[in-house]
């Protein structure tokens, strides 16, 4: 199970705007791949060309041996897509939506119950989609994408417009998608989401891929300092300065913070003094990577 996706030199222009500008990457079978970037970065257009909704103006996409824009049923049966959380038939219940999508893919009716179970919507089976919450709609829409047990799954901003709680709840469902070795491509504008879910992340801005690697490697590549904070009064400021050496120290109402590139030395020294009250350690995040790459503050 799982299938390879090869993207080479994709270009899509709208008038004068190069929405997608020479994008290339390969997604390995079974990989959870993320396209990350702010709105308007070209993620969705790239995804639409990979899914086969748009024919690339130049460049090629191959999913296995198929070119998706030809929309061959053979490929489409192996492909699961989730576009918008609202892509449902009007006034049907969750169960009826799954039954209908199942019929389109020729799967046995028994799959509906299985999918409701998998995304935790068993008790909402007979509720019309219009009456589901945002998070429940997303779960259902993912269930509809998985109804035919596809080898490759595309998710376009599945957590957009969800509150933080619903977003984290959905992560559990998303993680389970590639347990069985499916290839997954996800677009998101949430940095933390890409960090938590994706094996590799392509950071896009203005139609181009700026960087592509595992989240950890991207952050490591930054060589950014680590911020170690202590609760106020845990350690006299003078002691903290002595301990930090050349590293900068700030002290305010919220506590004392040492910014260092050598966290193990600082942490060992703090442990020796038994000064670990209210300790927090913050490394760089993908947010910092984006800032570093574009020189701009990341705004979703």
């Amino acid at each position: 199970m799982g299938v390879e996706i090869r993207v080479e030199g994709l270009v899509m222009t709208y008038g004068d705007v190069r929405a997608v500008d020479d994008v290339s990457f390969t997604v390995a079978p079974g990989e959870f791949f993320g396209l990350l970037g702010p709105n308007g970065a070209g993620k969705t257009t790239t995804l639409e060309m990979i899914e086969g909704l748009r024919r690339p103006q130049s460049g090629t996409v191959r999913i296995g041996e198929h070119e998706p824009w030809r929309r061959e049923p053979e490929l489409q049966r192996r492909m699961g897509v989730q576009l918008q959380s609202s892509s449902f038939f009007e006034r049907l219940t969750a169960r009826e939506q799954l039954d209908t999508f199942g019929a389109l893919y020729g799967v046995a009716p028994g799959r509906t119950a299985e999918m409701l179970e998998q995304v935790g919507l068993v008790d909402k089976a007979d509720v019309r989609t219009e009456d589901l919450s945002g998070g429940q709609k997303q779960r259902l829409s993912i269930a509809c994408a998985l109804i035919h047990d596809p080898e490759v799954v595309f998710l376009d901003e599945p957590t957009a417009a969800l509150d933080p709680q619903a977003r984290r709840n959905l992560w559990d469902v998303l993680r389970s998608i590639n347990d069985s070795g499916r290839t997954v491509v996800l677009t998101t504008h949430h940095m933390d989401e890409a960090e938590v879910l994706c094996d590799r992340v392509a950071i896009m801005d203005a139609g181009r891929i700026l960087e592509l690697d595992t989240p950890a490697a991207l952050v490591r590549g930054l060589d950014a300092p680590v911020r170690i904070s202590l609760a106020p009064g845990t350690l006299p400021v003078s002691d903290a300065r002595a301990l930090a050496g050349d590293d900068p120290v700030t002290d305010d109402d919220s506590g004392t913070t040492i910014t260092t590139r050598d966290p193990s030395r600082v942490l060992t020294a703090l442990a020796r003094r038994d000064a670990l009250d209210g300790l927090s350690v913050k490394g760089a995040s993908l947010e910092d990577v984006f800032l570093e790459l574009t020189g701009r503050e990341y705004r979703a």
């Binding site: 489409q76 897509v81 918008q84 609202s86 892509s87 209908t100 999508f101 019929a103």
Partner: protein, 352 residues
């Protein structure tokens, strides 16, 4: 085949669960049928209420045959209180007061209801003329014969049922196709279906089948109510309404697809559909006959599909024409559907 069936089932459920759509496609036109059926049933029996004060020889001494003819247009009551009678005319409770002054017949009416006023005046002028003629003892040289141009059997319900039914079917098919297209394009379902391993024609055929099914339900309800409540009488080739409404549905769906292709929002699609369907219904004689309409109205109506559907329905349902009378309207409707669908498909977009 399974894809087609499940799509059609999903669309049908969506329609019957949408109370507003159901109301406007079925109940609303039916309200007009009930309304028109009620208003126009006693149309022929509208008589003028006349109050007679004292003896009026032209009425009292009229031969029995003349008197019977007069009773068809006059409802005469006698009274001795002239002031009260005039007050009734002023208030509109009666149409005229008559009394005889020697050889003069005095008719007093209210100009408030101009149609009744003219009728009353005309009637009594004729009565006085014929009384004068009788007085001379001459045999009348000229005579008058009147005859209405419509078929005698075409009572109002016979006319309104096919017309209002045509309007209902036109609304249902146009609005159904227009809103379906816009909603599915906006919520992304069109693109979602495009990525499913089914041919586009399954989706289109499912929508056509659903619209035809809805039209058949509408027709069954209309004919049922017409026959059961208002004495509608169907003539020989009435089963031809089924192929007629299939062709009509295709033509109106084409209009809906065009509206849906142009409109960006559901509201705009409904607006455009209304803008087309309502004037079309008036110009196609769905609400009242176009017999008296000026030539340019008749000319416009000839390019409207609803006009041809109405003609076909009238001919086969109530005018007693043979099945072949439906052929020309059906061909026109199909031709209209082909042309408009071709235009709509040029403007069609999968996404916004």
């Amino acid at each position: 085949m399974r894809a087609f069936r499940s799509l059609a089932r999903a669309m049908l459920k969506g329609f019957f669960r949408d109370k507003m759509a159901f109301f406007f496609a079925v109940i609303f036109p039916l309200m007009f049928l009930v309304l028109f059926g009620g208003i126009f049933t006693d149309q022929g029996a509208s008589r003028s209420d006349v109050i007679q004060i004292g003896a009026v020889s032209v009425l009292d001494d009229a031969p029995r045959a003349v008197r019977a003819a007069l009773d068809e247009s006059l409802d005469v009551t006698r009274s001795s209180d002239e002031q009260d009678a005039l007050e009734q005319v002023r208030k509109g409770d009666a149409d005229a007061v008559i009394r005889q002054d020697g050889d003069r017949l005095v008719v007093r009416y209210s100009q408030a209801d101009q149609v009744q006023a003219a009728t009353v005046r005309g009637t009594f002028e004729a009565i006085v003329q014929s009384a004068n003629l009788a007085e001379t003892g001459q045999v009348p040289r000229f005579s008058l014969t009147t005859d209405q141009v419509e078929d005698d059997s075409l009572k109002s319900i016979q006319y309104y049922t096919p017309g209002l039914m045509g309007w209902a079917i036109a609304s249902g098919a146009t609005f159904g196709a227009a809103t379906n297209l816009v909603v599915w394009r906006r919520n992304g379902l069109l693109r979602r279906l495009r990525l499913a391993p089914i041919p586009t024609r399954s989706v289109v055929l499912a929508r056509v089948a659903v619209s035809i099914a809805i039209a058949i339900v509408q027709a069954a309800i209309f004919v049922g109510v017409g026959v059961a409540l208002f004495g509608l009488r169907l003539t020989g080739s009435w089963p031809m309404i089924v192929p007629l409404l299939v062709c009509g549905t295709l033509a109106f769906m084409a209009i809906g697809l065009l509206a849906g292709a142009v409109a960006r929002s559901e509201e705009a699609a409904v607006g455009i559909a209304n803008f087309v369907v309502l004037p079309m219904a008036f110009l196609s004689g769905s609400f009242f006959p176009l017999d008296g309409a000026p030539g340019y109205v008749t000319a416009i109506s000839k390019v409207l599909p609803l006009k041809h559907l109405n003609d076909g329905m009238l001919d086969t349902m109530v005018r007693g024409e043979g099945p072949s009378s439906a052929v020309v309207p059906m061909l026109i409707l199909l031709g209209f559907a082909v042309v408009v669908t071709a235009v709509a498909s040029r403007l069609f977009r999968w996404d916004d």
